[in-house]
Assembly symmetry: C2
Homo-oligomer: 333 residues x 2
């Protein structure tokens, strides 16, 4: 089942391949009648351009890469869907690779995207300082790149983020206003930009109300949250609230709290940044700060397209609004 080429169309219509190419690409140096004939024949014969040939000629591959630190939380998936929405609509192939929170794999992924000759790259680093050389080399060599969510440190690059700091501040403040006094923070890894910002927001909110800020490392996943509860207990201090780096940590914490017979939110309230569907399927439902994931993906893709079209555009940072969703884990009835 051989694919029909531009030459086939040309000989069928008694035209030259160049004329057919012109007609197909909307070049204006062509008689409307001729264009019409070509377009009809193309449709009739089911002509589909050979992307490889087009790539060869134009130097573009019509492919972009997406490298993300993980792919298992609903969070990232939603962002990816947003990216795909925009790019697929433009006929651009999207290749996603997941670094599994491992900088070594992340580097491999970046190099793979380079081998794949992507026209541009969406990158969300596993942490903010690893793989800088690779990153800088790629940018220096002219690969258009946009970051979202987690971002690297000290690199001038377009990015799409939410305001981790102030949203953290506000959600902690809400907890305080609803009666919590001894709130601790289960932090994310130090190497994650957002973790640092969220911790700052927490500390400043506590400071505003002259409350003591206490942190326990919570990591990225539920195991971390689970363990952090134990460390919290061992500290000997009494707490009536936990603000977790993310949803998974919060869920792990809640599991442990339940095992220990603590009632949520009566004895201890729980809130977290970055909620997905998971927040509403657990009980009690989790109070969260929810970034607009799909929109984030869409915006990221648009920024990238902009950058691919004109690599000299300055690196914009788009800050999207995250919504605070108060739910059962902090709201006593």
């Amino acid at each position: 089942m051989k694919r029909v080429t531009i030459k086939d169309l040309a000989s069928e219509l008694g035209l030259s391949p160049s004329t057919v190419s012109r007609a197909l690409n909307g070049d204006r140096n062509i008689r409307p009648g001729t264009r019409q004939r070509v377009l009809e024949a193309a449709k009739a014969r089911g002509y589909k351009p050979n992307l490889a040939a087009t790539s060869m000629k134009t130097g573009r591959t019509y492919t972009v890469g997406v490298v993300v630190p993980e792919m298992v939380t609903g969070y990232t998936i939603e962002v990816i869907r947003g990216i795909q929405d925009v790019l697929y609509a433009k006929g651009i192939r999207v290749i996603v690779a997941d670094s599994a929170e491992d900088p070594v794999r992340e580097k491999e992924n970046l190099l793979m995207m380079e081998r794949f000759m992507v026209d541009g790259l969406v990158f969300s680093p596993s942490n903010y300082h690893e793989n800088h050389e690779t990153l800088e080399r790629l940018i220096r060599e002219g690969l258009p790149m946009v970051c979202f969510g987690r971002i690297p440190y000290g690199i001038d690059i377009p990015k799409v983020v939410v305001d981790d700091y102030s949203k953290s501040f506000f959600v902690v403040e809400k907890m305080i206003l609803s009666g919590c006094r001894r709130i601790c923070h289960f932090t994310g890894p130090d190497e994650v930009y957002n973790a640092v910002e969220r911790a700052k927001g927490y500390c400043d909110a506590m400071a505003k109300y002259k409350l003591e800020a206490i942190e326990f490392p919570g990591g990225l996943g539920k195991e971390g949250g689970y363990a952090a509860v134990d460390r919290m207990m061992e500290s000997g201090k009494a707490f009536d609230g936990i603000y977790a780096f993310n949803e998974a940590v919060a869920v792990g914490a809640m599991t442990r709290l339940r095992e220990l017979g603590r009632r949520i939110p009566e004895e201890i309230a729980v809130a977290a940044f970055a909620g997905t569907d998971l927040s509403t399927v657990i009980y009690p439902q989790l109070t969260t700060v929810e970034p607009p994931m799909t929109e984030m993906g869409r915006t990221t893709a648009e920024l990238l397209i902009e950058k691919i079209k004109d690599p000299s555009v300055e690196s914009r940072t788009v800050v999207l609004n995250a919504e605070i969703k108060l739910r059962g884990s902090t709201e006593k009835k």
Copy 2:
């Protein structure tokens, strides 16, 4: 930052491009010393083959498409990771598109993959009878294709599945043996192959113990499970067990049961097919039948590679073993 080509290497080494190509591709008509020199120069100059040019010549794009009915459950993501594991290791680009359970989008996705000139396609249909014409055309035109999980009806194609029927049978039997007598089934959509199989397994298990099989439509998501509980209540019959088509349906059901004050598993036990991480973060933890997702993805990818290499191989069906995980939602302490 121009990319170095085979020609650059050739002129640098005083060889012809063809010789360089030979050396790079392990052709044996070349003196070991020459090959060595070429390989070293390639490494030194950072030569990376232009994939578009290679495609052009070989007719392969080194790209495969993956079309899945949804991408939000951990289920599909894990399978995708398995697929990526295998294909990325072989330098093949993986392009994933999500049909959002919509046959119209699904068709668009299939056509998009065709435009993208994928070398092969992994396909998991949203339901078993839509888009048959497109599917059959693609296969007829020689596109290598493998299905996993959900499968289309009446099409001879390699596939990777688990034994929905017997696993359903066994898990329902376990519920019966642990004391349940009045188990109902929250079914998946009739158009999904697996839903039909799972329902059969349920019915046959009930029949074996001379128990009445009663079904309520549960759909694909938690909303369906939530609503099904209400329909179950309205039926006026008393139930002490729910076997749900999938995890999301079970979770929806459990949410509603909790609202109604029913204790799980004491008053009513719950189990479901296809568990992810979600099963263990809810309370009580959910008894599930867990297909080996990543392995499923890996096997699917291997079958596809086989089919791409030799399109004439017969269509194998690989049945993987799913594990029954008994957890708190059925096990009374």
